[in-house]
Symmetry: none
Subunit: 224 residues, 4 copies
Amino acid sequence: MQSKLNYNSVMNYSSKGDSNARQHRGAKRRARTRAELLAAARRVFAKKGFHDTSILDITEAADVGVGTFYLHFRDKDEIFNTLIDEVLQILEEQVISEVRSSEAATLPVIVRSIFRHAYAERDLFSIALTSGAQVSRTIRVEDTIAQGLTRAFERVTETGQLQGYDVFLLARLVTGVIAQGIIWWFEQDDPGPDEMAESVLHLLAHGLPAALFNEHLLPPDTAP
Amino acid sequence: MQSKLNYNSVMNYSSKGDSNARQHRGAKRRARTRAELLAAARRVFAKKGFHDTSILDITEAADVGVGTFYLHFRDKDEIFNTLIDEVLQILEEQVISEVRSSEAATLPVIVRSIFRHAYAERDLFSIALTSGAQVSRTIRVEDTIAQGLTRAFERVTETGQLQGYDVFLLARLVTGVIAQGIIWWFEQDDPGPDEMAESVLHLLAHGLPAALFNEHLLPPDTAP
Amino acid sequence: MQSKLNYNSVMNYSSKGDSNARQHRGAKRRARTRAELLAAARRVFAKKGFHDTSILDITEAADVGVGTFYLHFRDKDEIFNTLIDEVLQILEEQVISEVRSSEAATLPVIVRSIFRHAYAERDLFSIALTSGAQVSRTIRVEDTIAQGLTRAFERVTETGQLQGYDVFLLARLVTGVIAQGIIWWFEQDDPGPDEMAESVLHLLAHGLPAALFNEHLLPPDTAP
Amino acid sequence: MQSKLNYNSVMNYSSKGDSNARQHRGAKRRARTRAELLAAARRVFAKKGFHDTSILDITEAADVGVGTFYLHFRDKDEIFNTLIDEVLQILEEQVISEVRSSEAATLPVIVRSIFRHAYAERDLFSIALTSGAQVSRTIRVEDTIAQGLTRAFERVTETGQLQGYDVFLLARLVTGVIAQGIIWWFEQDDPGPDEMAESVLHLLAHGLPAALFNEHLLPPDTAP
DNA sequence: CATGAATGAGGTTTCATTCAT
DNA sequence: AATGAATGAAACCTCATTCAT
């Protein structure tokens, strides 16, 4: 809120004052500092996790004074959320644009696009997927993906298909597969995004091999 | 691991000393206090989340002195892990026993069993699924489920089926669907465990409706 | 509030538990620490004034850890108010007792008693009289004295005398004289309390010398 | 003292440089900014009290940049003192002029004049009377009034009257009554200045009603 | 074994002040 | 002269942890 006011004021500078040049310089510096803070926060969060990161860690990584942090963000939550929001907005834009420029706006296109972007930003996504709840009791990344999928699914609902499905639940379950794919990269780097997308899409398209529904999955007799 | 040391030490008390009776009484009291702490921790974690819970919160809820906490647990992480381990061990035992007593040890039986237990303990599972990472950088619940599934899947692998699947990744993806189902209960209480299991199993068995792979999922032209 | 709960709980200890002795020791230590904090606060306030005193100053003077402060008082305001309340309560009790044990409960007896006590505690009273407003927007010492005087005056009102006086305003004005007498000791130590009382009482009894109402108080012609 | 340096430097600007006209414009602007800061400070002090007012509060209220503040005043104390000095100087001038233009320069004339001016500026006076000590360990308003009264009283001393009085102490005690009258307006607006002056003057002229010196002021027997 | 008063490291946050523009 | 972004000292406060009883 505080920071948004500040942020917006930056945006408005060029159109308001008469002495354009002078105000611009201050605003530019301000924006640069803010960007440095965001970049530093991302690095530190990725390295130490959300919980173990202090404001001081961030300002030191950004090479600015402690107080500067509070000029731009209310607290650790806010910078974290800003970071996530930023990355989610880019994700959304990118997915939409990729989907538009593709032949057909089908699920495979969407999923591939999500994985590609998530892979590129996998450090942040991992943090976001595993520390989300402690920040806002809303799990932002999952929510955003689930909402996107829901909107997409609803397009099909309108055509009369998807009868008998709870679209919301379905979207969340699919989100679960995707999220787990991303979290996979928390520890390994491969398979890369395209292969990952194929695995996920294969599962989503055909389900699990029938064997898993027929065969015995436990040894006849085991001690724990 | 740490917590197991503590836990086992309780178990060993009665067999060590010479004056058996008195030690027994002490051990019983000790165990009772410990149990109160665990129960209190579960209540408080469910209400305030892991991060916002302090040791004092727990001891007050358990109606014991602060110092007492440290006689039983090293820190907040340990009591949390103990709680999770306990509940996961019960989950495992219950699933195994249910699967054993069923006609065929197939995936549906396993999944239903997992959901039933998770539903019964949904407050703890929700916390565990969303606060896992900040405790140990290992996401215990997902890991346990994924491991269990992996073991199960490997039985099938041995029969030569599941060719071309990365069993580990597959297990994790399936874990993702299950986990998201549980997290769903973070906000709603229904559908209940059996219905939830059906939805998940249907998805896992047949995949998503083909429409989602054919139809256009985006309106032809949207503003952001 | 916090501290009052704590404080009261100390008071109740001896009558509540069964294991009397053990609880007593803790409570005694607690009370001692609290008293040390109060004594230290008084010393530091007297030396540096309210505004320039930090919590750390107080805890260092009391030779306890910082955290200990917060076990007993919410913040600087609270310890200050506690200090003032304590001293004002003693003042009130002492004045009442002195007045009772005197021949006649007249104003001179009251005023002498106030000055005697205030002189004994003049460092604290000076601080209280000059820093009062910044703590609570109620000027505690003046208020207490004025209230006491008001109650006293009202006794006389009931006898039909004091016609035409606004008792509240009168009490405050008299409080002003007394307060200024005490503030006088902020910089000088004499005259002592009895002489001071005589000066004030003489003024209150006879008013100012008539000359001040007749004579010219300005030189016929002065530059600023 | 410090503030006077600053203040005078403003006055000297126009006479120093070569290009008279331009400097004049600069000086005028400078003076205007300074006046805005003073006016803003007064408003903010009146609203939030001295202690809770920050430099930023003042500059925002004055609608100037933070840095600008330091071009005119060293710190919060200085602007506060400047404000008080200004108002006290006006008080002094006004009292002197009113007294001069009156028939006889007696105490009633002085007191009435003081109250009239103090009432007009009562927000500032209230702040000054209750926050004085934290600024300079000299209680400026009381000091100024007491000094004025002392000077006036000394005129009478010279005529041989006021024998046996400590003139300084007497002046301070009278100051106490006047100050308390002004502080009264901190919470109420009436009685207005003239009525207030009459009450105070009546007290100063005749002292308190004799009853207060004869009657019992306490009920014969009270519980605390 | 249990207690809870005390501790102080470590975090957060504010705000007077500087200085490049 | 005016600006306001940046600074960091200095305060605040919490809470995990210890330890005497």
